[in-house]
């Protein structure tokens, strides 16, 4: 076959055609704006594992100043909200069964006596363990409140004997949480979401654009023209690079201005690596299009790509907690690396010094996938 050079004219004809088609397709045009809004509102608010205001019932059998002081301590914390006061354990059990309360505080009748008689008083915290997230928060914050109260109580008593806390030896742990001092979930989820949205928009549009040509058999007409695969692929993909990147910038804008998660590190680096990730997603979309004969099939294949990327990339569930084998699969998902990058740059403010491995992995993935996709795509043309 006689080789001829890349024709800019043919490439431009393809690109212009693709731009017109995108312009006429309201979904492709709105997707980079609607998807970030919908997904960020959903994930920003619904997927919130910061549990607060756990409805709590109190069964106070003591009813003294001591007991109400203790209950107040619980009510003052932002984790518990006292919604019910009950008179017996059966009532409490009923409330937990019906789900009206998630926790119950039981104070024994002899609470006041016990603490006055210098006996260790025993208070019971009942927790509904159905939802582990809520239960865990209730458990840890309940323990914390009790310990704090108990310590304060002990200290007060010690002062009476002329002993202050300073006179007692002890170890204290001074904690210092970096990057996200308030442990806000949105600061973790939202930047990750920017990466996920970028991936989804680009994969979806690219796969559909290429499959559509097959579905309507216009590809057959294109093959008999002198067009070269490189011109066709490049010309077809540029509009989707533009759309994918627009979606990325828009999502980043929402992240910064609406959720107030600022870019701690270099914005330039983030924009550059974001561009690399658009390319990577584009190649994945192209690869999908070589498997699928129509848009329906493309959709099915896409689910197989998108679902693992949500579950295994560390977007929601920490990869450290996964069994080794499952966690290993995550290394084959490009989003895993981009999440490291975007969280690193946005939250930690770190640069290539720490992110070069992730960046290199992403680059390698992009090159390999693009290579396979182009190869398979050419084959499907021949």
């Amino acid at each position: 076959m006689k080789k001829s050079r890349f024709s800019f004219k043919r490439f431009k004809a393809i690109m212009m055609k693709e731009f017109i088609q995108v312009k006429r397709d309201p979904i492709s045009l709105k997707l980079p704006f609607i998807m970030p809004i919908v997904m960020m509102l959903l994930f920003g608010y619904a997927v919130n594992t910061d549990v607060e205001n756990i409805p709590t019932a109190v069964f106070d059998q003591c009813k003294t100043e001591d007991s109400s002081q203790f209950i107040e301590k619980f009510a003052d914390s932002k984790y518990f909200i006292i919604t019910e006061n009950v008179d017996n354990e059966a009532q409490l059990a009923d409330l937990v069964d019906s789900g009206k309360v998630k926790a119950g505080l039981i104070i024994p009748a002899n609470y006041s006596e016990q603490i006055k008689n210098k006996v260790n008083a025993e208070i019971q915290l009942v927790i509904d363990g159905t939802d582990p997230t809520t239960a865990r928060t209730a458990l840890s914050s309940g323990l914390l409140i009790m310990r704090e109260y108990s310590q304060k109580y002990t200290a007060e008593k010690l002062i009476k004997y002329g002993i202050t806390a300073e006179k007692l030896p002890g170890i204290s742990l001074k904690t210092n949480v970096w990057y996200n001092p308030d442990l806000e979930n949105t600061r973790f989820t939202i930047p990750g979401l920017v990466g996920l949205i970028l991936q989804n928009i680009t994969i979806m549009l690219t796969a559909f654009a290429l499959v559509r040509e097959k579905e309507r058999s216009t590809i057959e007409q294109l093959i008999v023209t002198p067009i070269k695969p490189s011109e066709l692929i490049l010309g077809k993909l540029i509009p989707y690079i533009v759309i994918g990147y627009t979606g990325f910038l828009f999502a980043l804008g929402i992240c910064v201005w609406f959720f107030k998660v600022n870019v701690a590190g270099s914005l330039g680096l983030l924009l550059l690596l974001g561009f690399l990730f658009v390319f990577c997603s584009l190649s994945i979309g192209m690869l999908i299009s070589t498997f699928a004969k129509n848009q329906m099939q493309a959709m099915i294949v896409m689910v197989f790509v998108l679902l693992p990327s949500i579950l295994l990339s560390g977007f929601i569930f920490p990869r450290d907690a996964m069994p080794k084998v499952i966690g290993f699969i995550g290394y084959f998902i490009p989003l895993t690396y981009f999440l490291d990058i975007i969280r690193g740059v946005m939250l930690k403010g770190i640069g290539l010094k720490y992110l070069w491995q992730d960046s290199l992995a992403l680059l390698l993935f992009t090159i390999v996938i693009l290579f396979i996709a182009t190869k398979r795509f050419r084959k499907s043309l021949d």
Binding site: M1, K2, S4, S7, K9, R10, K12, A13, I14, M16, K17, I20, Q21, R24, D25, R216, S217, T218, E220, Q221, L222, I223, V224, T225, P226, I227, D382
Partner: protein, 263 residues
């Protein structure tokens, strides 16, 4: 002699199945060649090999003296192709479809504008330049697809069932255009299942089970076979090849006869 298409011992096998079996024929320039045969007989496979979309298992095809396998791109530059379903971009307008193919063949702006005007007039699409191709009716779509296949001024036009599913008036108009193009020196290869269309071709070839059964002018064929028309010849060939009479086995559909006792 200079042939537009010169095919020699062309064969295409897919695994153990032979789709095109050692066919040879030559078509002189400026003539209309009707390529006939039942569905699945190997017409489309042959056409795909002529366009360089499929590579032949053996044999060769020369288009305008150029080997398709060796000079694919040069061959394609001089080839107009219209696939079975008029594969236009339905979300592009009439003008944009023509512009696109002009760009793909690397035509200049000036040439594109001139040819577009003429092609729109030929296809009777004046006033519809800004309509989306998807909103056109069958006959218009078909003529627009022909326009797109002609914009780069090909020497050979390959039409795969161009009149399938089109009304009789559009069919007549279309064939008038085809004959006019042939008079201007363009060679045309056309497949069709309409025998009245086949009879107006200069040469017809019958392909059956991948083998070229006969190739001659329609008049010669009718005289040779002593048949009334091409349709009889078509049916005769198929009967000979399959060794059975072509008549429906409708009589064996017993459930359609008698009382409906089941209801």
């Amino acid at each position: 002699m200079d042939y537009a298409i010169h095919v020699e011992n062309l064969t295409k096998r897919f695994g153990s199945f032979t789709a095109v079996d050692n066919i040879s024929f030559s078509i002189p320039k400026g003539t209309i060649f009707g390529f006939l045969g039942p569905n699945g007989s190997g017409k489309s496979t042959t056409i795909r090999m002529l366009c360089g979309v499929l590579h032949p298992t053996s044999g060769s095809a020369l288009i305008m003296g150029r080997d398709v396998a060796k000079e694919t791109e040069a061959v394609r530059q001089g080839l107009g192709y219209m696939s079975q379903r008029f594969s236009l971009y339905e979300d592009l307008t009439v003008e944009e479809n023509l512009d696109f193919y002009a760009g793909v063949y690397g035509l200049s702006k000036k040439v594109t504008a001139d040819r577009k005007k003429e092609l729109i007039a030929m296809a009777n699409l004046t006033g519809k330049e800004k309509s989306l191709a998807g909103t056109l009716s069958g006959g218009w779509k078909q003529r627009l697809a022909l326009g797109c296949a002609l914009i780069h001024k090909p020497k050979l036009l390959i039409l795969d069932e161009p009149t399938a599913g089109v009304d009789p008036v559009s069919r007549r108009v279309f064939w008038e255009i085809i004959h006019e193009l042939a008079r201007q020196g363009i060679t045309i290869l056309v497949t069709t299942h309409y025998m009245d269309e086949a009879e107006s071709c200069d040469t017809v070839g019958f392909i059956l089970d991948g083998k070229l059964i006969n190739i001659a002018s329609p008049q010669e064929l009718i005289a040779q076979e002593g048949a009334k028309n091409l349709e009889d010849i078509f049916i005769k060939y198929v009967e000979k090849a399959t060794n059975q009479k072509i008549n429906s086995t409708f009589n064996s559909l017993n459930f359609l006869k008698g009382e409906d006792d089941a209801l």
